[in-house]
């Protein structure tokens, strides 16, 4: 049976850099400049989240899954990746998407409902958000088997939640990853909740311990400590690159917002819990560290603020300015080759639309006649 493991931590909630002989070497390249840049990304990502939430409230987005509180888990891991690594994430990793260089407008596309997903996965080596819980862990494992076949040294990284660990797919992914020793990193963001269900309902023991039963080594890291997350991810990536097979990372963090903008967490969780976690805020922690190091100059603050604001503006204008798709677009890309069934339906629908003076009337539930 498992024993409680301590979290890997390099920076305390108070912003104190503590030494960790095993993991320190993995972030020794993170100097002052890098630290500031991490701080910037964390801040920008939170700002993105705030802006997108606002856009949802204003009716510009249909839905948004906030990542408030999980910034360090996403930035620490996202920035550890190499360009040729490939990410398969859930719907919540918009911060990782930002780190991968996904265009801001593209991030909002799917939530605005103008497309089924936002970007070309190959342009940033990141699949678009997966909604079916856990399904993407198998995709990552298969992709990693492909990397292996190709003799390449890139890594597939898959993100999923604590709730996802209950799904058969995630467990099967570990079976395959272990069996083939595939270069895949399982990154579990344990944010303590699966909608209204506490992590304890999914597992009585630590999530990270699941992996050992599959013969997969695991790391349990303070998910609100961006340095620790980066170090742990690098360890896992390094192992995968050098033929060491899969690693499971549990990033212990907290979903400070609702599950999505459609959710009301006051129905199921205690305000105190939120307060406890607010004290471990991933951004305040880096800020405190920078302060201790004397790096939190007005200039840095201003720069980060400006960057965040400009990103927010870009996000907003990109979102609002996005052209609506054309009705006939719904028939596109179902198949890559012609399909007689669909071609006929498409033809009929085009005729149907053409039979209207005002095509808008054709789609209202109340009717145009």
């Amino acid at each position: 049976m498992s024993t409680d493991r301590n979290l890997i931590q390099l920076v305390t909630p108070a912003g104190e850099r503590i030494s960790h002989p095993e993991f320190d070497p993995w972030v020794k390249d993170i100097g002052d400049e890098q630290l500031c840049s991490l701080y910037e990304d964390l801040t920008v990502i939170r700002r993105i989240d705030v802006e997108a939430t606002a856009l949802q409230r204003q009716g510009e987005l249909g839905l948004w899954p906030p990542l408030l509180g999980q910034e360090a888990a996403q930035v620490g891991s996202g920035r550890a990746l190499r360009e040729d690594d490939f990410v398969f994430s859930s719907y919540r990793e918009n911060g990782v998407a930002y780190c991968r260089g996904v265009d801001l407008t593209d991030i909002t596309r799917v939530w605005r409902g103008t497309a089924s997903s936002g970007w070309d996965p190959y342009s940033v080596n990141m699949a678009t958000p997966q909604i079916i819980i856990g399904a993407q862990t198998l995709h990552a494992t298969g992709y990693a088997m492909g990397i292996q076949n190709d003799g390449a040294d890139s890594v597939a990284v898959t993100y999923f939640g604590d709730g996802a660990t209950s799904e058969g797919d995630v467990n099967e992914a570990m079976v395959f990853a272990a069996s083939f020793q595939a270069p895949v990193v399982f990154f579990c963001s344990n944010n303590h909740w699966a909608i209204s269900e506490p992590v304890r309902l999914q597992s009585h023991i630590q999530i990270a311990d699941r992996a050992s039963g599959f013969g997969i080594p695991s790391l349990r890291v303070d998910g609100n400590d961006v340095l620790a997350v980066m170090a742990a991810t690098r360890v896992a990536l390094d192992r995968a690159r050098h033929g060491g097979g899969p690693t499971f990372i549990e990033a212990v963090t907290y979903r400070m917002g609702p599950h999505t903008t459609a959710d009301d967490p006051t129905r199921y969780r205690d305000a105190n819990e939120l307060e406890d976690w607010a004290a471990k805020d991933p951004i305040l922690r880096v800020k405190a560290l920078l302060e201790r190091k004397g790096l939190l100059t007005d200039e840095v603050q201003q720069h980060v603020h400006n960057k965040a604001e400009s990103v927010a503006r870009e996000l907003r204008s990109g979102c609002i300015g996005m052209p609506d798709p054309e009705p006939m677009d719904i028939f596109k890309h179902v198949y890559s080759e012609p399909n007689s069934w669909l071609d006929r339906q498409q033809d009929h629908y085009a005729r149907y639309l053409a039979s209207f003076g005002d095509p808008a009337g054709a789609t209202s539930e109340e009717g145009a006649r």
Binding site: Q202, I330, R351, G361, A362, T363, E366, G367
Partner: protein, 336 residues
């Protein structure tokens, strides 16, 4: 009689079932403390306890598979699948176990499992939240499949489904959850119209329009609109999708000679094909024109900005009615 929403009518039906039979047990994701993402199970865990209304870990196959085990033990599990698109991980347990166990055991083991599925589109959601997977289940022998279109039926039929010794898929038209209607909570589900019966909801003489679930409202609206043009549509709410009550549909088509079937699911291999084929078999010589299907397209459910193009609306249905009637329509002049 009480005015209540569709969602509340189901809630009240569930409550009655929980009250009437201690073996009834609700299972699903977020159905307890939260009361379900649509609040359909609101308050039930509080009143019946965590052993009767069970928040389960996040694993659909396990929810279904443990429901099978509970049924073995004499329970009557009512399983909630959070959204239509999340039923597929449970497909194996449904198709190979729930549907087949009674047959496999020559009737020794009953599977009185009710599977509640909020289904269909029109709510502006992202992928997997707006699907209409009913045809997968209507083609699966051993299952019964129903869908309701109004609060009263929602209330009565959920109780009938739970009372049934056979497994029942109960499809809830999620875009109608907030619709209100009169509900008589005193109706005895055992003496009410059986759940495998269709119902003529609007009488008419010119054409039979068959709908179920979310599109019954649209079909009724179409009948109203058509009446203005002097066209008399008979609207049938199928209610039971497997088996379909063909006697009721047949009687109508023998009268009208014309049939239009509508559903949100994709056309090819959808329930509309089954209805069209069976009615053609049963009353070929009464048909004046070929049955018409007005359905979703053969595409993955599209992104929300365009979903109203995919969903059959009033005008598309009326266009289909015109086709059935041989009146000018969008395909006039096209061969076949």
């Amino acid at each position: 009689m009480t005015q209540m929403t569709f969602a509340r009518a189901i809630n009240s039906g569930l409550r009655k079932s929980l009250e009437n039979d201690p073996k009834v047990i609700l299972m699903g994701e977020d159905i307890g403390t939260l009361g379900g993402v649509f609040r359909v199970t609101d308050g039930l865990q509080k009143d019946f306890g965590t052993h009767r209304v069970v928040d389960t870990p996040l694993a659909e196959s396990a929810i279904m598979g443990t429901a099978v085990g509970l049924a073995y033990r004499g329970y009557r599990p009512v399983v909630e699948i959070q959204f239509d698109g999340f039923i597929y991980p449970a497909f194996d347990q449904i198709v190979s176990q729930v549907a087949k166990l009674h047959y496999r055991t020559q009737g020794a083991v009953k599977m009185p499992i009710t599977i509640r599925v909020p289904f269909g589109g029109g709510i502006g959601s992202p992928e997997h939240h707006s699907e209409s997977p009913e045809a997968y289940f209507t083609h699966t022998s051993g299952l019964r499949v129903v869908s309701v279109s109004n609060p009263q039926d929602a209330h009565t039929v959920i109780q009938q489904a739970i009372l049934s010794d056979d497994p029942v898929l109960y499809f809830e038209p999620k875009r109608r959850y907030h619709d209100k209607g009169e509900v008589d909570e005193g109706i005895d589900p055992r003496t009410a119209l059986p759940m495998d019966s269709a119902r003529v909801v609007t009488e008419g003489t010119d054409v039979t329009l068959v709908a179920y679930g979310p599109l019954v409202k649209t079909a009724k609206d179409a009948a109203t609109a058509a009446a203005d043009e002097g066209i008399s549509i008979e609207v049938i709410d199928l209610r039971s999708l497997a088996p379909v009550d063909y006697a009721t549909v047949e009687a109508s088509v023998r009268k009208t000679g014309r049939l239009v079937v509508t559903h949100e699911a994709g056309q090819s291999g959808g329930l509309g094909a089954e209805v069209a084929a069976s009615i053609t078999e049963r009353c070929f010589y009464h048909l004046e024109t070929a049955p018409v299907r007005i359905t979703g397209f053969d595409i993955p459910y599209p992104y929300s900005k365009l979903e109203m193009h995919h969903l059959p609306g009033l005008d598309r249905i009326l266009d289909g009615v015109d086709r059935a009637l041989g009146r000018p329509n969008s395909l006039s002049g096209l061969e076949g």
